[in-house]
Symmetry: C2
Subunit: 312 residues, 2 copies
C-alpha cells in the first residue's frame, strides 16, 4: 500500500516559459511583450521556492510542485508538513475530478471513518483559516477592479484578495489554487483532503474554505485526469483512482535532487511590467488591448534556475 | 483518411444535471438553491437546440455537442455548415491542447498550405466577425459589473458582452466558448480551424478573434486531452493527435437519432432565479454568499428532454 519509492524528479514541464522567442535586437517601438519583460528581467526579479514550503506530489505521470502558503493558513500548512513527513499521502490516490471545477486527492475511504488511514502525529481538526488580518502582508494590488472583492493582488506569488474596511485578506480561488476539503463544519478540514482548481476560477469558494497553496509546476498532470462519473466528479470505480506514489517536502530531499526552478517575484517593477504586458497585449496578433486583467488570469512565471555565467 | 461512420449518439454526459436531489416538500425558508430553481422550472423555461445550429463532433471517447451562434458570426457559422456538409472535418484531428487555455482541431497540416485538405465549397477567407451591432439582440444583462466590458449577460444561451456607447456586442471567451483560429490577419479565419476554451476565461481574446459557438455537452471529452509539448500546446508527434471520427449537423441526422437534450432559456424569471442562486449560494455548505457572479461562472443548465407525462 505504501511504496517507499525514491523520489525521482521527472522532467518538469515549464510551460510558462514556452513562449515564442523574440528576435534579438528588434527595436522596442511599443510597450514590451510578456516575453520581452521576462527576457529583460534580472536575477533579483526571481526567487527560489522555500524548501520547507514546497511539496512534491509524485503521480504516475510525473511530478507536481506545490508551494504552501503559511502566511494564509499557518495551522493547515503545518499539519500538511506533519502529514507529509509521516508519509500519510504515500499510496493514497486522486479520487475526484469534476470538469471545470476541481481535482481532489486524499484517502479514498472518504466518510467511512473506520476505514480511513490514521493521521499519525497530525491533528484531526483545525481552526478554519478562511481569511487572515490584512496587516502584515506584502500585498501588491492590481490596478483593475474585481467583482468578488474590494481589491485583488499578489502576496509573495499568491493570487489574493483584500477587504481594507474589514481588515481581512485571503487567497483567491484561481486555476491552480490548492485548498483543504471540508465537510459541513467550518473547522472540519485538516489538510489530509486536498483539492486544486482545474477550471474557471470558482471565486464563490473564497472565504468559505481554507486555501493552503498553489501549484507551481505540473498542473497539466492534474487537469487532464479523466472526469469522474459519480456525483461531484468522484470516481465510482476504485480502478479509476490515480495512485499517489509519494509526497515529500523539498526540505526532505537532497538539494541537488530538488526541482531546480525559480519563480518571478510579485512585488517588483518587473512584475508590474509583466502585469501590464498581460493587461494590454502588445504582441502583433492583438488588435484590441483589453486594458484589464483579472487576478486569476495572471500566472506567475516559472523558469529553470539559470546556470551561472562563466567568468569572461 | 475519411471514415464514413454512422453517427451513433453515445451516452451523453449531462453533468449539469447531476446535482444531489432535494427532499420533496421541504420548506423553502431561504432563497432557493440552484437545484430547487431547476426543480421548480416549467417546460417553458427550456428550449431545444436548433438542428441547423447544432454540431456533433464525434471523438473516439464520445460525442461533443456544439451550438453555433449565427447571431454573432453569420458568415463563419454558414461556412462551418458548408464544411460539415462537405465532410471536411471527418478524419482530421485535434492538434493542440494547451493547459489552462484552449484545445484546437482542424487540419494537422497547419501552415503547410500545399498539404492542406481542400475546403470544397466553403470559402477560404471571411470577414472578421469580432463583434456585431448591439441592436437587435435579446441581451439579458447580469446584475454585476465586469472588468473586461461595460456589460455582460446572456443572449439566447451565449455568454456575451456589450458596449452600449459603442453600440457593439460580442461573445465572451468563457470555458466552453468555441472560436475560429486565425493567423495575423484579422480576416484569416474561415472556420476550418476551431478552438474551445478549456481554462480560465481568456477574455483578452474578446474582440480579437471570431467566436462561433459554445460546447453544450461533452466538454470533458476535450478538456482532458493530454497537453501538447510543442509551442502553444501543439502535439509534436502525429501519433498524439486525437482523430475526429465525424462531424455532422443535427439537421443531417434523423430526429430520433439526435441528442435528446434541451437547455435552459436565458431571458426568463427562472433564469434570473438561477443566476441569483449562483450569486448568493443558499446551500447549507456556504457560509459567505459572494453577492457576485461573473458571466463565465454561469453554465447554462442542460437536461434530457423529459418524457411526456401520461394522461391521468
Amino acid at each position: 500500500m505504501r511504496p517507499t519509492l525514491p523520489l525521482t524528479l521527472l522532467a518538469l514541464s515549464l510551460s510558462a516559459c514556452a513562449n515564442a522567442p523574440i528576435q534579438a535586437g528588434a527595436p522596442a517601438a511599443k510597450a514590451p511583450t510578456t516575453q520581452e519583460v521576462i527576457d529583460a528581467s534580472t536575477a533579483a526579479d526571481w526567487r527560489p521556492l522555500d524548501p520547507v514550503n514546497t511539496v512534491y506530489l509524485q503521480l504516475p505521470s510525473g511530478m507536481v510542485v506545490i508551494e504552501l502558503a503559511p502566511e494564509f493558513a499557518p495551522e493547515h500548512t503545518a499539519n500538511i508538513r506533519t502529514l507529509v513527513k509521516g508519509r500519510y499521502f504515500d499510496g493514497l490516490s486522486v479520487n475526484r475530478s469534476q470538469d471545470n471545477f476541481v481535482v481532489q486527492w486524499g484517502d479514498p475511504a472518504g466518510d467511512e471513518l473506520a476505514l480511513r488511514r490514521p493521521l499519525g502525529e497530525a491533528r484531526a481538526t483545525l481552526p478554519a483559516e478562511f481569511s487572515r488580518a490584512a496587516d502584515g502582508l506584502d500585498f501588491h494590488a492590481l490596478p483593475d477592479p474585481d467583482g468578488w472583492a474590494p481589491q485583488t493582488g499578489f502576496v509573495n506569488g499568491f493570487a489574493a484578495a483584500r477587504d481594507p474596511k474589514a481588515g481581512k485578506a485571503w487567497l483567491a480561488h484561481c486555476y491552480g489554487t490548492v485548498g483543504a476539503g471540508r465537510a459541513m463544519e467550518p473547522d472540519s478540514s485538516n489538510g489530509s483532503e486536498l483539492y486544486v482548481v482545474t477550471g474557471q476560477s470558482p471565486r464563490q469558494l473564497d472565504l468559505n474554505i481554507t486555501t493552503v497553496g498553489r501549484v507551481v509546476v505540473g498542473m497539466e498532470r492534474l487537469s487532464v485526469l479523466p472526469r469522474g462519473s459519480g456525483p461531484l466528479g468522484f470516481y465510482t470505480d476504485a480502478s479509476q483512482r490515480v495512485p499517489i506514489l509519494a509526497v515529500r517536502l523539498a526540505s526532505e530531499i537532497e538539494p541537488d535532487q530538488r526541482a531546480q526552478i525559480e519563480v518571478m517575484r510579485t512585488g517588483t517593477p518587473t512584475w508590474d511590467a509583466y502585469v501590464e504586458s498581460r493587461r494590454n497585449r502588445s504582441d502583433e496578433w492583438y488588435l484590441h488591448p483589453a486594458g484589464h486583467i483579472d487576478v486569476c488570469n495572471l500566472s506567475v512565471p516559472v523558469r529553470p534556475i539559470p546556470k551561472p555565467a562563466a567568468a569572461g
